[in-house]
């Protein structure tokens, strides 16, 4: 069993970069000002460096310009307009709600920040999302949700093809909303996700903020190489899932990305061993359960240290 330390996605912005964004964009709803590429590169390098220094093996770009969390992806596609402020799941965080005003099209690279990170370091994974964006958007254009979802899927699919062409090894798809999908909806989603996962790159499904027992067994047919589960919010339920269903690669979100409290390493080790004993895993990724942007930066770093220490003691 190979164990790899990783993170989920977002990371607190360096303070100077935060000030820079505030200066060029202000605090109002008109964000998404073009950020100077060199400035962004400097900020991303810092965050990439920080992850490496903490001992993280599979990195992310930190999503430093993602004002609206996963919904940022919508803001970079044609057809969406961003408006109003809505609460992001059960967090004290808000995003501008994407409103579908026209046909969804991908007209430019979505993950330009990932592209920069990939220039700096090859061991970085891009993060995308599809169903969650469709669920959290307000559709004022398509007559059917399915049409909307499929156009969105096509746009994301194009991005995935480009990423594959760049030689990216892992592509992560975050779908927190999937955890609340109805059973019959899950069956229909199989085709959408198969479309997204039919790539040479290895695909990771990341779920968080809740347990995932409701999406099994359907999710096993979605074509993902790795399935990520949140063991902070759903330790019991997700452990039961592993007992019942088997798959080969898992992302264990075991370190609490939403609380400054630092876990006890022995306690984590015990939980980790219990989790992996429930299945026969070839590859296990260890990470916080969520992105680390919920935390002040000093604590985000400490959490990554815990991830890498846990990796050391279990492998």
């Amino acid at each position: 069993m190979r164990v790899i330390s990783t993170v989920v996605g977002n990371y607190p912005r360096p303070e100077w970069f935060r000030d820079y964004l505030r200066k060029i964009e202000g605090l109002q709803k008109d964000l998404d000002v073009e950020v100077d590429r060199e400035v962004l590169k400097k900020a991303i390098s810092e965050v990439v460096e920080e992850q490496k220094r903490a001992g993280i093996e599979l990195l992310t770009d930190g999503q430093l310009t993602w004002h609206d969390f996963l919904l940022t992806i919508a803001s970079r596609l044609e057809g969406f307009e961003m408006n109003g402020l809505v609460r992001y799941f059960d967090n004290n965080l808000y995003y501008r709600i994407p409103i579908v005003k026209g046909k969804i099209k991908r007209t430019k690279r979505i993950l330009y920040d990932f592209e920069i990170a990939f220039e700096i370091e090859k061991n970085v994974k891009p993060v995308l999302s599809c169903y969650t964006i469709a669920k959290l958007s307000k559709n004022e254009f398509y007559s059917k949700f399915d049409e909307f979802l499929w156009d969105l899927c096509d746009a994301i699919r194009e991005e995935i093809e480009e990423l594959e062409g760049m030689g990216v090894e892992f592509i992560q798809i975050d779908e927190p909303s999937l955890l609340y999908a109805e059973k019959d909806e899950l069956k229909n989603l199989e085709d959408v996700f198969k479309e997204l996962t039919s790539t040479k790159a290895k695909t990771v499904l990341m779920t968080y903020f809740d347990s995932a027992e409701r999406i099994f067994p359907e999710v096993l047919d979605f074509g993902f190489d790795v399935i990520g589960l949140d063991f902070v919010e759903g330790y019991e339920e997700n452990t039961r899932v592993l007992e019942e269903y088997s798959f080969e690669r898992i992302n264990v979100g075991l370190i609490d990305g939403r609380n400054t409290k630092m876990e006890d390493l022995n306690d984590l080790k015990r939980k980790f061993e219990e989790i992996v004993s429930r299945g026969e895993f070839k590859e296990v990724f260890i990470s916080p359960n969520t992105g680390l942007e919920f935390l002040p930066r000093v604590k985000a770093f400490e959490k990554m240290r815990i991830v890498s220490k846990l990796k050391e003691v279990v492998s």
Partner: protein
């Protein structure tokens, strides 16, 4: 029927500059303190000229509404800021030990304000539920326990306030409507906070789905609820009507998210709508929320219009 404010008011520009100088170590604490006091006097004067009946000091010393209190309560530490949305951040406190009363939270501000105005005073303090909801909890096994512990601390502060003459306390709880599933915890927390407190208690909530917390909040031990109505076109008055609302009503009728100053006629219409739900002596006319994000001249103008509209309604009803 009285006019009041929710709490915050735009800081004078010179105060913002002084705060920055103080932060950079270029002026000492004494000068800073004098500046705060002068700013309060200026804000009080604005409120007096506008003619507001019940005032607060505009929260000149508060940067925001969570960490200001957390810094003064034993058991909290602040590691740094986290993002709320876009480019907006706040210092999110962590509970790392037993929450205990350490420093006064608003007693000194109240006493100073009292020394510079003859007006009635309301003291706004962020409630236990909201502070805990907006903090990390490293210490208590459950959120509920943390909320109750903090409620005890605030109860002590409320009693201290009453001791020095405060008779109107407003508990700010914007987090309650965001977690309707925890309404029971919030309700118990209110009981702890107000126990033995001989003052008029208001509770301000903004930004959330009020329908989700009705009718449960009607059992809260408060004399008044203060809601934002202007921001949502007064549609929420319907909820009050549906549930036979009978507490006093803080009636937010000035939109704090818009720089457009309401007309007197508009505000009068709104007040008449509120009077269909409550009696004039139950009604406290105020803006939706604190005014701090508006330009100062706009904030002042809005207060002036609000008071003028209230006065006209009063004389129409023969209340003067």
């Amino acid at each position: 029927m009285k006019t009041t404010v929710v709490g915050s008011y735009p800081k004078p520009k010179w105060l913002l500059k002084t705060i920055k100088l103080h932060r950079d170590g270029r002026i000492d604490d004494r000068v800073m303190d004098e500046a705060y006091k002068d700013a309060v006097k200026a804000v009080v004067k604005d409120h007096e000229i506008a003619g507001v009946d019940i005032i607060w000091d505009g929260e000149m010393r508060r940067e925001e509404m969570t960490s200001y209190f957390a810094e003064r309560i034993e058991g909290f530490v602040i590691y740094g800021e986290v993002r709320v949305w876009g480019n907006a951040y706040y210092p999110k406190p962590s509970i790392v030990g037993e929450l205990r009363y350490r420093d006064e939270l608003a007693v000194r501000d109240f006493l100073f304000l009292k020394s510079v105005t003859e007006k009635e005073i309301k003291v706004p303090i962020t409630g236990a539920y909201t502070i805990v909801d907006w903090s990390f909890n490293e210490y208590y096994p459950t959120k509920e326990e943390a909320v109750y512990a903090l409620a005890e601390v605030l109860n002590r502060e409320f009693k201290e306030l009453v001791k020095v003459g405060a008779n109107y306390i407003q508990i700010d709880e914007p987090a309650i409507p965001t977690h309707p599933e925890e309404i029971e915890i919030a309700k118990n927390a209110v009981e702890i906070m107000v126990k033995g407190v001989k003052a008029y208690i208001g509770m301000h909530m903004c930004y959330g789905n009020y329908r989700a917390i009705f009718p449960d909040i009607l059992d809260f031990k408060v004399d008044q609820f203060d809601f934002e109505f202007a921001n949502r076109n007064f549609e929420d008055l319907e909820i009050l009507r549906e549930y036979d609302y009978d507490k006093d009503l803080g009636f937010g009728c000035i939109d704090v998210h818009s720089k457009r100053v309401e007309t007197v006629e508009e505000v009068k219409r709104a007040i008449h709508m509120a009077l269909e739900v409550v009696e004039p002596d139950q009604l406290y006319v105020d803006p939706d929320c604190g005014l701090k994000l508006l330009p100062r001249d706009v904030a002042f103008e809005k207060l002036r219009v609000m008071v003028k509209a209230t006065n006209e309604v009063r004389s129409e009803l023969g209340l003067e």
